[in-house]
Subunit: 357 residues, 2 copies
Amino acid sequence: MREIGLADVDDIARGAGILGTGGGGDPYLGKLLAETAITRHGPITVVTIDEVAPDAVVIPVAMLGAPTVCQEKLPNGTEALTALRALEAATGTEATHLVPIEIGGMNSLVPLALAAETGLPIVDGDAMGRAFPEAQMTSFAIHDLPMYPLTLADVRDNAVIVARAQSWKWMERLSRTACVAVGSIAGTCKAPRTGKEVKECGILYTTTKAIRLGQAVQAARREHRDPVQAVIDAERGLRLFTGKVQDVARRATEGFLRGTALLEGLDADRGHAFRLAFQNEFAVGWLDGVVRVTTPDLICVLDTVSGDAVGTETLRYGQRVTVVALPAAPVLLTPKGLEHVGPRAFGYDLDFRSVFA
Amino acid sequence: MREIGLADVDDIARGAGILGTGGGGDPYLGKLLAETAITRHGPITVVTIDEVAPDAVVIPVAMLGAPTVCQEKLPNGTEALTALRALEAATGTEATHLVPIEIGGMNSLVPLALAAETGLPIVDGDAMGRAFPEAQMTSFAIHDLPMYPLTLADVRDNAVIVARAQSWKWMERLSRTACVAVGSIAGTCKAPRTGKEVKECGILYTTTKAIRLGQAVQAARREHRDPVQAVIDAERGLRLFTGKVQDVARRATEGFLRGTALLEGLDADRGHAFRLAFQNEFAVGWLDGVVRVTTPDLICVLDTVSGDAVGTETLRYGQRVTVVALPAAPVLLTPKGLEHVGPRAFGYDLDFRSVFA
């Protein structure tokens, strides 16, 4: 058990921005939400899974939508609470813990804000070990845990429950269309998990991982070392490309932010080109037209100087960036895992070959 | 209290087809569903509102969607039951009665089929006294009763609950997008009503009205009288136009069937033209380019020879039809009623002037 206070939020935001692989929403917005909630309600209790009873009621929490939308339509922080109360009412249970669905961007901080508001402890872990765009792209789904009920709420007092779904794909479709209907940004609580299920099927210790990663970047800056190298060292990552953003094509469609970015090589990569495709998160990277890296390897685009992550919605012409790959959680690399989150799950007719293989 | 058996279904289907003003779904499909359910489970008990306890739990039932879709994708009869069970589970209550949302087309018969299946009695009445396309177009909405929860289920084991909605318009939008996501046809249960609410805010005795209307048409046929005149006499209606369908423009869009039909005059109307616009149901009729009739007056298109209703999805070139207006329930004609179901509610910049005024 440890406490998370105001001083930690900055580290989490920085670390989760990197683990978000371009998505999960702008961590700066999440930081504001978490700071506001902690200032109002006091620090948050983070527990390890060993401190959670097997029959605990752990509610996975996130914001759902297209990261671009958040740039204009800020979350106000009540969406997730409305979703939580709707889930408790629909299931007749009371939450004992919260857990982030994804430890990426804003979505690592929204559950913290909700934890501060409700006084519920948060489990150190998540269900992706990164960020992914769709409902079936979680370790809970890979383990075939029950997928419903899911609740979704907006800021206007609208709340939708997906009470039953024929498959994870249907769960994704039903929750996504509801999300689009309320403006492509909503708070969501997924099917409640027992402590035992989170222990067996979650991806653990990722909140503290985000803190460590954020601290590593900050330490490197303070000590005038290369923050990008600090990220690579902290996570045993791989530097893939250093360049300048030459072009970004971006569209918010079907509740997602989809597009591509083209990087022009600098320094050792001068004369080469790197192309990135994204659906909220970076999904595939091509070096000079040849596939270099694909999901579920974490494809992180970092500011070359500061080491801060650049989101798919904030990427823009002229930025100096370095593309880094970080290793994915083992469950994502299993055959069942790759069915859910491999390149084919994103519509790319490619076999997954890890850059770490 | 009375029983509805196999012998009554045909009359209800015929009468509800007429009251459906072109929509509510093909009554033939509803007839098959009700006949199957009665054959399997026995006759249905219909009660008058005076036989319903003030604290009874009355669940409004319907199929939601675009009538055209039903022509290719038949309901299988389990959708409404799934929606009912989801509503009972979400609210922790048990239904004591069912009531149709609209006494139009298939939607007068789907609640009967569900009543046979569940053994629940059905209240003689509905919330429209006809058919309308949208959630806020009910007498319950006009009376500002609580609008949620609403449940919606398809044939695949998908079920969505709108647990909260900011307004009736949001309720319509959220339930409609869920309906479109599952293929523009779904079973739905609306917010439970107490017996007292149905008594004060429902439109009563419309199931028996549909039976009487169906019987009137059948009697006229048997006795070689004009069935269209029989409808007019039974409901104090008005003959507006007799002609031949010259053109139909129809599209299934946003979960609705929208379009227009052009009639060429025959007999006394030779040389004149009548145009109809519809959104699931007929909404406005123009005689020679001048508005002749608008919602909420019931605009019924009947086969000139048989007196059977012609649905907006079955209307086609060459049909000989007579356009008849029937009076709407008084609640629809109040200023608040017209806000919900007058021509402006359908996007027409027209004041309502009843053909019966």
